[in-house]
């Protein structure tokens, strides 16, 4: 009896897949680190306008978001078709903006408060009347740094 069997001819040897999990894990970690989970589920249409002179918002934890736009299709029957404000996960009225800013400030550290930026994520079809009201409200609570969220692109697409 020969100790060494001759290899069978034909039939490819199986590829070793032992390192496959490693590769997949590597990808997995990359995406885990790069992921930013959406913290608000939008109840409004929110297609941002394009602008060419945009600046990036660096510190994510110093940004407060105010969304404005028409209610999306599921909410049309209840909230109508006029543009509305969304704060966190609820529809809100203009008078709620001040309270929202106060509550956002309350959970931030005190030394960070002067650096807070309010990002206005407004649908490009919304009317300036609503935006103006919100701006006025922001001035009342002294939240003066604002950012008109927009996508980098050409203005002709607006």
């Amino acid at each position: 009896m020969s100790k060494f069997k001759k290899k069978k001819d034909g039939g490819l040897p199986a590829i070793n897949t032992a390192s496959l999990p490693d590769i997949v894990f590597m990808l997995l970690f990359f995406f885990m680190v790069a992921t930013v989970m959406r913290d608000n589920s939008l109840m409004i249409e929110n297609s941002l306008p394009s602008a060419s002179e945009v600046e990036k918002l660096e510190k994510k934890n110093l940004v407060m978001y105010i969304y404005m736009g028409k209610p999306s299709s599921g909410y049309k029957s209840k909230y109508g078709t006029e543009a509305r404000i969304q704060l966190n996960d609820n529809f809100a009225s203009v008078s709620d903006v001040g309270a929202f800013i106060a509550s956002e400030r309350a959970i931030k550290r005190e030394e960070e408060i002067p650096f807070l930026i309010t990002s206005l994520k407004v649908d490009k079809d919304a009317n300036m009347g609503l935006v103006g009201d919100v701006k006025q409200e922001l001035r009342k609570v002294n939240a003066l740094k604002i950012n008109y969220a927009s996508i980098k692109g050409d203005v002709s697409r607006n």
């Binding site: 897949t17 032992a18 496959l20 999990p21 997949v24 894990f25 990808l27 997995l28 995406f31 885990m32 790069a34 992921t35 930013v36 989970m37 959406r38 306008p49 602008a51 060419s52 002179e53 945009v54 600046e55 990036k56 918002l57 994510k60 940004v63 930026i117 990002s119 206005l120 407004v122 649908d123 490009k124 079809d125 919304a126 009317n127 300036m128 009347g129 935006v131 103006g132 701006k135 006025q136 922001l138 001035r139 009342k140 002294n142 003066l144 740094k145 604002i146 950012n147 008109y148 969220a149 927009s150 996508i151 980098k152 203005v155 002709s156 607006n158």
Partner: protein, 201 residues
């Protein structure tokens, strides 16, 4: 009894589990960073005394309910605003508050347009039914006008565009004199201050 080696765990399904997680994160990932046009609102102060500004130092832009744009009492297309604003800001027809003339302006020095970039104010007005898209387009063009002038000036002085200077000031890997760079940036900002006022209805 002989000690048995622990049986090996079958790791064949490890890849499947990892794939499952990978696909979950792939789907939930949003890579984009927030970007937008930064603005500062004027503080709420009801001062009784109105600051008197000469009409020629104000560049009025009005967007009406039908998204038509009126610049200095004339109808204008979005694409022409940038040039008009540059001409207005860079005019340098007079002196600033300290009586200095604008020696770095390249404008027409028209006495009926703005005196000095330091005095020139762009006032952006809108009506309630103006669409936000148009408003941002106009605002973008006005900010672009300032950036055009600042770029031109910094290329003249420091052989570097203003955007490049700002990028370098933020870049931690940049080797060079950051203090000086910051001074240069603030000098450009002082020569062409962004005086863009959004009028509340």
């Amino acid at each position: 009894m002989a000690k048995r080696a622990a049986p090996e765990v079958n790791a064949g399904s490890m890849a499947d589990i990892a794939f499952l997680l990978l696909i979950f994160f792939l789907v939930t990932t949003t890579m984009e960073k927030d970007s937008g046009i930064n603005r500062k609102l004027p503080p709420m102060e009801d001062s009784d005394e109105d600051v008197v500004i000469k009409q020629k130092n104000i560049f009025t832009v009005l967007i009406n309910n039908n998204n038509q744009i009126m610049v200095e009492d004339e109808l204008m297309e979005i694409k022409d605003i940038r040039q008009a604003a540059v001409e207005f800001l860079d005019n340098g027809g007079g002196t600033d508050n300290d009586g200095n003339i604008c020696d770095y302006c390249h404008g027409a020095r028209n006495p009926s347009s703005s005196d000095h970039p330091d005095k020139a104010i762009i006032s952006l007005k809108n009506e309630r039914k103006t669409s936000y898209g148009t408003y941002i387009s106009v605002q973008n063009e006005l900010v672009a006008a300032y950036n055009v002038l600042r770029d031109k000036r910094s290329l003249e002085l420091f052989n570097m565009s203003f955007a490049e200077m700002q990028k370098k000031a933020k870049d931690v890997n940049w080797v060079g004199n950051k203090e000086r760079l910051k001074e240069q940036i603030s000098q450009i900002k002082k020569e062409y201050p962004q005086k863009l006022s959004e009028v509340q209805q």
